[in-house]
Symmetry: C2
Subunit: 140 residues, 2 copies
């Protein structure tokens, strides 16, 4: 299951990316528009800022804004920050690898090899999809 955190984060990023003006957008506006708990969204946007996706400005007229061009933000990066590993098991994860406690030999593990395929299939989607593509999907 995709976590609400990731879902809301993606929606917020899409909303920010689809704005014409480059002035900051308030959390409250995004939360209202996307039907998200404002406090929860607050913590999500904070994470995205700390990881270099968003900039922010405090006080009146403040809010959040994208730091990079939507076309330069691949889904792989966003997913890894919000959702964690793209792989379904740590033993096939590129960025979060961990050996299984059971399983003496990964190469002989049927689950390992199946999940390798699943990982690759997901990667091929995420690697070829940027935030800009997400906006396209939205409108068409």
């Amino acid at each position: 299951m995709l976590s609400k955190k990731t879902k809301y984060g993606l929606k917020a990023l899409t909303y920010l990316a689809s704005q014409d003006k480059q002035s900051p957008i308030q959390i409250a506006e995004i939360a209202k528009h996307e039907n998200i708990s404002q406090k929860f969204l607050e913590s999500i946007l904070l994470t995205l800022r700390r990881n270099g996706f968003l900039g922010s400005k405090k006080g009146k007229g403040g809010g959040y804004y994208l730091i990079k061009e939507p076309k330069d933000i691949p889904m792989t990066a966003i997913m890894r920050i919000l959702e964690g590993p793209i792989a379904m098991v740590p033993c096939v994860s590129l960025n979060f690898y961990e050996k299984c406690d059971d399983c003496p030999d990964e190469n002989l593990c049927s689950v390992h090899n199946l999940m390798l395929k699943i990982r690759d299939s997901a990667l091929s989607v995420y690697r070829n999809t940027t935030l800009e593509d997400l906006i396209q999907m939205q409108t068409g």
Copy 2:
């Protein structure tokens, strides 16, 4: 994340499918061979039996055995029973569809459309992989 339940279930099925003899295999043997808690595995095999994948026999010489040919058991079926929906969000699920509370229009939701692609990519793997293929993967 793939649940332990699914992981263990897949390992058990692979183990059963890779046996030469057609006599029942005891839970204890599978659990030992695959380093799985026997009681936990018990409940998993029970689920698989109730869903028509396994047959069982009680008493001495009893155990579990496959009902169908490994080549006739697609991963889609196993995953849906053990792990639940293949889709990461209910709104793109073929077998477990649910509308999102937020989201007035699915077609305009970027998350929806992204997860549609992810679902399709996973489906293409699961649909083209049977239990027999899992054994092949196992041996290299």
